[in-house]
Symmetry: C2
Subunit: 304 residues, 2 copies
């Protein structure tokens, strides 16, 4: 489905999310060798409501690079597992201490803290197992595992969460808002790394050259930043019903955000700039990039 | 170093552990792209004192199967990272709530709960990244990742921890000691799965056939059970100074153990039986298995 407007983008993502969620549900079915409560806890978070943005990116970038849809399932599923793991652990009492996620109790509220930690852990190993069992061309397995491990690790997503936690702790001590560069480093890790990996993994299953991989990665990184700035803005400006989660919580938790660092207007400018840079990264890639360009606009302009 | 007695086995493991720890220390050096506190927390647990039993098994089984020592580093390091992760998360307040590990404060006592959770998480992704960056023959990467992911996941090690936590919760409610089969299922997951994977990963880098892999796996599984039964026994019979950690804690926490389930004498018999079964698994493997056989005896007979 080729889309050109923000309105079409929402429809395309929803259509994809419904189809992909069914596939993921079928795949994430566990037999008795996994304890039943663990399976339930994993499925609660993995298959709960979600935009499926990272899988959407894998499929869109994969198609752009000539990959078959079947080749996109393994990386898309693995990314969604890593994403689900990160949400479970970020919500824990020792981290952001959130009770509500996408309108439902967070995993530890539903299953207890021990099970939530272990369900998160099991989702990480399941992601890598999935890449070895479901990747169609075995030559892609190593590069996909490497991409996912690097992007989610201590120099990527987990590193971003560490910077976030440390910034919150410092802020509780009454220090000034974080400089823009530090906010950017947090979001490049927490959101940018997986968005970038999603696009690159689509490129990997499409067997593209290194230059194209770099461009896809730059697109994903800037797209992730645009999404995150908008998330920060919506936490200040939107209602809980609109978002399906508690709002105003960033400030309450002493969380360092773009609006806190540079104000609402400047944050909007930076979001717009990130969306523009994402679109520019696509300029030298051949093929129909209209959906990806529309997605970048959506990332910046959405209201939920 | 070929060893024949329990005394020689301890010396061989120590010699190996010293050499391997140096290599691991050099490898696990992180640049500024990883937050400094995270790197410190990872190194604290990964490079702290430890027997390095799983790496030892990779190298010994690798050698037995004709693999070069260099080919054993990646799987050995990855296994030790997964092992370190599991100890950090098992020690957390929401899990076993331990303050002391190998004579030092546990990771969350040293770095706080949030950092301990994230250091554990980062060790998992680092393990899989290591398999993609340090595996010498690229044909081994996929099988090694699959082996490690399966063994550590919800049907392996993490599944064992879930069963353990659930058994403890049930026991707090005043129910009877767990049947032997359930204890066995806990330990097959918590200890057996990684021991088995260590031996199989040595076989994978040695390019052995499926039958030999199965035998190596059966050796590792039974060896792990023998080690775990002895651990359970030592928690009842040894002193804290001897063990370098709190003892008697299993009972205090309502933890289900072999001695609680079947008594001390029967536990000793089961440990001996597991060691014997481990040794029998090696019977049809060609080559010098004397070190592995001595290790199985050591697992059962050690006093710390």
């Amino acid at each position: 489905m080729t889309v050109h407007s923000t309105h079409d983008t929402i429809a395309a993502i929803r259509l994809f999310a419904d189809r992909f969620s069914l596939q993921l549900d079928e795949f994430a079915t566990f037999d008795a060798s996994m304890p039943a409560t663990l399976a339930e806890s994993i499925r609660y978070s993995l298959l709960g409501p979600g935009k499926r943005l990272r899988p959407f990116l894998v499929y869109e970038c994969g198609r752009l690079c000539g990959a078959a849809d079947e080749a996109c399932f393994a990386p898309a599923a693995a990314l969604e597992m890593i994403h689900a793991f990160s949400l479970i652990h970020d919500d824990l009492p020792a981290m952001d201490d959130d009770d509500l996620r996408r309108g439902r109790p967070t995993n530890h509220k539903q299953f207890g803290e021990a099970m939530a930690i272990l369900a998160g852990d099991a989702l990480v190993t399941l992601a890598f197992e999935t890449l070895t069992t479901k990747t169609i061309d075995r030559n892609h397995t190593g590069p996909l595992v490497r991409e996912l491990a690097t992007a989610s690790g201590g120099c990527g997503m987990i590193g971003g969460q560490v910077r976030d936690i440390e910034a919150q702790a410092a802020s509780t001590g009454g220090s000034r808002p974080l400089p823009l560069n530090d906010i950017r480093a947090i979001h490049e890790g927490k959101t940018g790394a997986l968005f970038s990996a999603a696009c690159r993994m689509g490129g990997i299953v499409g067997d593209v050259d290194v230059d194209t991989l770099e461009r896809l990665g730059a697109f994903g990184l800037n797209l992730g930043i645009a999404f995150q700035i908008t998330d920060d803005l919506l936490d200040v400006t939107a209602s809980a019903a609109q978002m399906g989660k508690q709002v105003g919580k960033d400030q309450e938790k002493g969380k360092q955000t773009y609006p806190q660092s540079v104000g609402i207007d400047r944050s909007r400018e930076l979001g717009s700039e990130a969306a523009r840079m994402a679109i520019e990264s696509l300029a030298e890639i051949e093929g129909d990039t209209s959906t990806l360009r529309a997605l970048a606009k959506f990332a910046h302009q959405r209201d939920r």
